[in-house]
């Protein structure tokens, strides 16, 4: 029932043609590559259009009044100053619009919390200032550091890489179509794992775990950044996720199992 309502609501939204229109440009939220990012994008756009609608009404009245009722045009002030009926109307209408918005929002929020039936679990730990990815069932664990050379940051004359500040040495690798559950925690301060194209943002909090999930349908390389101020180099701990076909993922896992010890591990102890 729930699923059905959800599909229906979003099918309707898609029909309104708000899907890919602005998604490609950098002026809007990316439409993304997961069901979650599509849902969030649609919610975002419908709220935006509703706001625009209200804005048009309110600002039309405002600008009309500014134009029409100026003293220099000989306007004389009217005398009315209250009307309970009008007040009730403009309390009720926004309220009903908000109820209308709350329904799809409630449904999507439920979906964010649904981490069940995952195919793969990755634990992500935030460090000052890098990410650590651990594939719990595969026993793979590695750090992911910023790969942009420091000189490109310090020297304005140097040409910058295409993915300046959005490139890492070891990206997180996940298989396409699989539901990946991510567990987040932190080794020091609060970080936040944010990947816009997946519609995922979740805080990494020291001492506690958080979870979210990803299911990507298009292979590719996706980039994000830390979303919570975590000290001086908060802007320098990007996130790169490589989504690959399942066979390729299996090969990657096998390769990693082989030279597990060779992978930079950071802490001497483990």
């Amino acid at each position: 029932m729930f699923q059905w309502t959800q599909k229906w609501v979003f099918a309707l939204l898609s029909c309104l043609g708000m899907q890919n229109a602005l998604a490609e440009s950098t002026v809007n939220m990316p439409y993304g590559v997961t069901r979650m990012s599509h849902d969030i994008y649609n919610l975002h756009m419908i709220t935006f259009y509703i706001c625009c609608g209200i804005g048009v009404v309110v600002f039309s009245v405002l600008f009309y009044s500014i134009y029409k009722y100026r003293r220099s045009r000989g306007a004389k002030a009217a005398n009315f100053h209250e009307h309970p009926g009008v007040e009730i109307i403009w309390t009720l209408i926004p309220f009903l619009i908000l109820v209308g918005l709350a329904i799809p929002a409630t449904i999507v929020l439920k979906d964010i919390h649904n981490t069940n039936e995952s195919d793969l679990i990755i634990k992500i730990t935030g460090y000052q200032w890098k990410w650590k990815y651990e594939y719990l069932d595969q026993g793979i664990s590695f750090f992911s550091n910023l790969a942009t050379p420091q000189i490109q940051i310090d020297d304005p004359q140097k040409t910058k890489n295409e993915w300046f500040l959005l490139e890492v040495d070891n990206p997180m690798v996940i298989p396409v179509h699989k539901k990946v559950k991510i567990l987040l925690t932190s080794n020091d301060v609060i970080h936040d794992w944010w990947l816009p194209a997946f519609g995922v943002k979740q805080d990494a909090i020291p001492g506690y775990i958080n979870e979210n999930w990803i299911q990507v349908d298009t292979p590719g390389i996706y980039r994000g950044q830390c979303g919570e101020l975590c000290g001086a180099y908060h802007g320098f701990m990007p996130i790169v996720v490589q989504v690959v076909p399942e066979e390729e993922f299996e090969q990657w896992v096998a390769a990693h199992m082989l030279n597990k010890t060779a992978v930079s591990n950071g802490r001497k102890a483990t």
């Binding site: 950098t26 706001c51 405002l62 306007a75 918005l101 500040l165 979303g227 101020l229 001086a232």
Partner: protein, 557 residues
């Protein structure tokens, strides 16, 4: 302090004018002097924090390091935020409260004039304390240039954002955090004393006939704000005290190692922080109500609904704090509750906007500078309100939070909201205070430059935020370059335009000091409805309403 004595002073000074020189300002208990002091402090801090904003914007002019280190960048964003909130908006609003509330309710002064002096003079020292680590650092840098090495091992200024989340500010915070904690304590005490004073004045000093429903909207806005202050400033004080204990006395309120929880910090902080947002805007709503009805020459539409909406906003403001924490991980049910409550705030806020617009509808409008700022407020605050509604939608908020979209949102609410309201208020009452009409042409230039550059600065931030640019980063990926450059250009123009404002204000004060009398009418804008316009001469004398006025039904509306 003997409170009974304190109350008596209101009449002690009845017969003589202001004292001379520095003593006048240090020991004054006159509400107009104290109001002026608050406004001057606010003006000074406005430029200090504004320069910090420009440091930030210039660093963000292009990808790669432009001129400051990431460490210094974070100190700039942090102090810019803290000072703008506590040192600019709040003191400016308190300045208006001091100047206008006694006159608007028909009282000779605030109820507790000596306490009033105290609550002001705490503030300069609070901000000195807050900026001390930065000053130390700047002096250190300067001395380095001339070969000296002053303050070499001194730590950084606060650098964890104005929200100072634990454990970044506790376990990982620089030494200067303690300066910030004590500075916040002092500001907190100052705000609480001011709030008590305002509540007592409004409750007990109203002239006979000045009933609750005849109070000007500005007074209502401040009354509600004062109650918000009394309720949440102690919580902030408690919060920073816990930080202090965690840092020095081995408690573990926010440290998981000792059984605490960093998320508890965010709950406490935002329990203060969300109402704080309304503390910053409700007095502004009041100013806008006064200005809009004056320049429409028409009674404020739906007065009683405006009052109700203000109270509703304040009430709802207490139960929505967790909307700042949607991504920290919370049970579904809790997120739903806070999402619904947050969305609900749009209703009373909408009511206010609709009432203002209806007040303008069929009015008799003129467009002097105060009205221009009020109209700018109406349009751009509403835009900030729209992005607020978008942020309330929890699943979408997952993507907005921590991005430049949020930065755009709260600058629309605070710059074109609170700050424009303050500008409107200054232009509105400056002639009444000084007896001198500011230069209208310059005022209009100030408005248009501010409004255009404000949009130039903050509108592109919506775009980069949505496209994935996190806030509080000193450097960014290449695709965000264009919009950041526009924002920087806008910010520089905005900053420079404020020099016009400074010039206008200084000019008025000079003329006032020189005793130039322009014989402005009492009701300067011929549409003012509250007592300062209808019952007092221009410029207002040092002491007003020594004899208690009788207020009738026609007096305020």
């Amino acid at each position: 302090m003997n409170l009974t004595d304190d109350m008596a002073t209101a009449h002690d000074h009845a017969d003589h004018g202001p004292a001379k020189g520095l003593k006048r300002w240090l020991f004054t208990t006159n509400h107009k002097d104290i109001g002026t002091l608050y406004l001057l402090l606010s003006l000074t801090m406005f430029f200090v924090a504004g320069i910090m904003a420009l440091v930030v914007r210039i660093e963000l002019f292009e990808p790669g390091k432009v001129w400051v280190t990431p460490e210094f960048f974070n100190q700039m964003t942090t102090l810019h935020g803290l000072i703008m909130v506590f040192g600019v908006i709040m003191p400016a609003m308190a300045g208006f409260a001091n100047w206008m509330i006694p006159m608007m309710v028909g009282a000779p002064d605030m109820a507790l004039p000596r306490l009033n002096n105290w609550s002001f003079w705490l503030l300069p020292f609070a901000f000195l304390l807050l900026s001390l680590p930065l000053l130390r650092e700047l002096v250190g840098m300067a001395s380095h240039l001339i070969g000296l090495n002053l303050f070499a091992g001194a730590g950084a200024a606060p650098d964890y954002g104005w929200t100072f989340y634990a454990p970044l500010s506790t376990t990982y915070g620089p030494d200067s955090t303690d300066y910030m904690i004590f500075a916040i304590h002092m500001m907190g005490i100052s705000s609480i004393l001011a709030a008590i004073n305002i509540v007592v004045t409004i409750f007990n000093m109203r002239a006979p006939g000045m009933t609750w429903m005849r109070l000007p909207m500005f007074v209502w806005g401040w009354l509600v704000t004062a109650f918000l202050l009394l309720a949440v400033m102690p919580v902030l004080a408690g919060c920073v005290t816990m930080m202090l204990m965690d840092r020095h006395f081995h408690t573990a309120f926010f440290e998981a190692a000792g059984g605490g929880d960093p998320i508890l910090f965010q709950h406490i902080f935002w329990f203060f922080g969300h109402p704080e947002v309304y503390i910053l805007i409700l007095p502004g709503f009041g100013i806008i109500s006064e200005v809009v009805q004056t320049f429409s020459r028409k009674r404020l539409f739906g007065y009683s609904f405006m009052v109700a909406a203000t109270i509703t906003i304040a009430f709802l403001g207490y139960i929505v704090w967790m909307h700042h924490m949607f991504t920290t991980g919370a049970p579904y049910a809790a997120q739903l509750f806070f999402m619904y409550a947050t969305m609900l705030i749009a209703v009373p806020t909408g009511v206010k906007v609709f009432n203002w617009v209806t007040t303008i509808f069929k009015g008799e409008l003129t467009f002097e500078t105060p009205m221009l700022f009020a109209l700018g407020f109406l349009v751009m605050f509403t835009i900030g309100g729209f992005s607020g509604v978008m942020l309330a939608i929890a699943p979408a908020d997952y993507q907005y939070r921590g991005s430049y979209f949020v930065v755009a949102h709260f600058h629309y609410v605070l710059v074109s909201g609170s700050l424009f309201a303050i500008f409107a208020g200054v232009y509105f009452w400056l002639p009444k205070w000084t007896g001198h009409m500011y230069n209208e042409t310059l005022g209009k230039w100030h408005f248009w430059l501010s409004a255009i550059s404000m949009n130039l600065t903050f509108f592109p931030m919506h775009f980069v935020g949505l496209a994935g640019m996190p806030r509080r980063i000193p450097d960014y990926a290449l695709q965000f370059t264009n919009f950041n450059q526009i924002a920087t250009v806008g910010a520089v123009i905005f900053g420079l335009s404020q020099l016009l404002f400074l010039a206008i204000v200084i000019r008025s004060c000079q003329k006032h000091k020189a005793g130039v009398n322009e014989h402005l009418p009492d009701n300067v804008w011929d549409g003012g409805r509250s007592l300062e316009w209808t019952r007092l001469p221009t410029p207002v004398p040092y002491h007003t309403f020594e004899t208690v006025p009788e207020i009738g039904p026609n007096d305020t509306h």
